[in-house]
Amino acid sequence: MSEIAEKVKSIIVDKLGVEPSEVTPEASFTNDLGADSLDTVELIMEFEKEFNVSIPDDQAENIGTVGQAISYLEEHAK
């Protein structure tokens, strides 16, 4: 697993209070990991802070799973 993937996973575990084993690439924040709309906003903000990126709202809407977050950040992280 890439360094980015590891960091993404640990942010999700921290913010959503889930077990690391639940954080699979296919896992959906809302359907599988118990996030509500506010949790999702907070996750995106944490990714922005951790990886020093700015994720526009229209792209944030397409980040709904762990895998989608990892690939977006692997592409855009500075």
Partner: protein, 416 residues
């Protein structure tokens, strides 16, 4: 339509004296001070460096990490105290949740949340990065919202804000909603958690708070000649108010009856009490009239008594005006001498203390009395330093808030 009678069927508390009703009452009975050096932040540069904190508190004891993180401390206290009261009243599985309301009190709301988010913004480059939980954590009604969400109570739900009278106002509102048939059960009380840089600094600026840093435990000394201001406290007090017939029908244990509530305003100054005490006279008269009792029915007044030079005197003067010579036969005490001043949470924990005084026949003391104040009538019984035994048929709980809000709640032993 006749108004319905309302009784207390559950109690909850998390206070500087203890984190359950039992521990709170034990502290009150023993005359323990909840004051100590502030641990919630580094207060070394503040004029006041002590407060009455809830001791050894960790949210992890009560909440999973994700749940706790989304609540300001004042809401955590609200949920903890109301959980205890709900369990105590045996509500779970025994009531129609559409008929259960939550009417809570808080004077400020999520002060620490507000402070932290603003500091984080100010430290940045001007780009807004506010947390999505900032607003839902900060707003004062998040306390009543979270209590209802956790328990599925779908009745009336709101918060009352009237500074230090907030949670007496919530209790009076709960009483009247049940009387009028708008709910059968209401979770009420109040909470506050303002021991933050902004809270301590702000109250220091008003010069309302004690600066007795060399002896925190003796700083809250209502009615003592050398009192120099209130001591800030934190925590929550919760009561389950219930229609009498409803409580009897489900076989609930009944602590006391809520006989009435009175409201008034000083219409005088935003922080200073009216030295004539006229608003306070009016509020006690209103409360007794609402309760349908005369002054001589009252045994105990749990006073607002914050330990400020002006406020304590005005309240005592008002008591003497309302009760006349009978005032000498009353027990008067300020439990703030032990708990500190919980601001919008004060009415909640003091209502709990008043109900327990009725239940146990014990008047909790006004501790830290050393020197009589020549301005106050020494013939009055302030229950100084040691609890007193007395059958309490009726107890009155007074609270007054910045803005000139005055509220009195009258509790009585249940009679048939």
């Amino acid at each position: 339509m006749a108004l319905r009678r309302v009784v207390v069927t559950g109690l909850g508390a998390i206070t500087p004296l203890g984190s359950t009703v039992a521990d709170y009452w034990e502290g009150l009975r023993q005359g323990v001070s909840g004051a100590d050096i502030i641990t919630r932040f580094d207060a070394s540069k503040f004029k006041t460096r002590f407060a009455c904190e809830v001791k050894g508190y960790s949210p992890d004891t009560y909440f999973d990490r994700k749940e706790g993180r989304k609540m300001d401390l004042f809401t955590q206290f609200a949920v903890i105290a109301s959980d205890e009261a709900i369990r105590d009243a045996g509500l779970e599985g025994n009531v129609d949740k559409d008929r259960v309301g939550v009417i809570w009190g808080s004077g400020i709301g999520g002060l620490r949340t507000f402070q932290e988010e603003c500091i984080a913004f100010a430290k940045g480059d001007g780009t807004p990065r506010f947390n999505p939980f900032f607003i839902p954590k900060m707003i004062a009604d998040s306390a009543s919202g979270n209590i209802s969400i956790k328990n599925g109570f779908r009745g009336p739900n709101f918060i009352t804000t009237s500074a230090c009278a907030s949670s007496s106002d919530s209790i009076v509102a709960a009483l009247n909603y049940i009387r009028a048939g708008m709910a059968d059960v209401v979770v009420t009380g109040g909470s506050e958690a303002a021991i933050t840089e902004a809270g301590i600094g702000g109250f220091n600026a008003i010069k309302a708070m004690s600066e007795r840093n060399d002896d925190p435990q003796s700083a809250s000394r209502p009615y003592d000649k050398d009192r120099d201001g209130f001591v800030l406290g934190e925590g929550a007090g919760a009561l389950i108010l219930e229609a009498y017939e409803h409580a009897v029908a489900r076989g609930a244990k009944i602590y006391a009856e809520v006989l009435g509530g009175g409201l008034s305003s000083d219409a005088y100054h935003i922080t200073a009490p009216d030295p004539t005490g006229e608003g306070v006279v009016l509020v006690m008269q209103n409360a007794l009239r609402d309760a349908g009792i005369g002054p001589e029915a009252v045994d105990y007044i749990n006073t607002h008594g914050t330990s400020t030079p002006l406020g304590d005197g005005a309240e005592v003067k008002a008591i003497q005006k309302v009760f006349g010579d009978y005032a000498y036969k009353l027990n008067i005490s300020s439990t703030k001498s032990m708990t500190g001043h919980l601001l919008g949470g004060a009415g909640g924990i003091e209502a709990v203390a008043s109900v327990l005084a009725i239940q146990h026949g014990i008047i909790p003391p006004t501790i830290n009395h050393v020197t009589d104040d020549p301005e106050l009538d020494a013939g009055l019984n302030f229950t100084f330093n040691k609890a007193q035994t007395r059958e309490v048929n009726v107890a009155v709980s007074n609270t007054f808030g910045f803005g000139g809000h005055n509220t009195s709640v009258v509790f009585g032993k249940l009679r048939d």
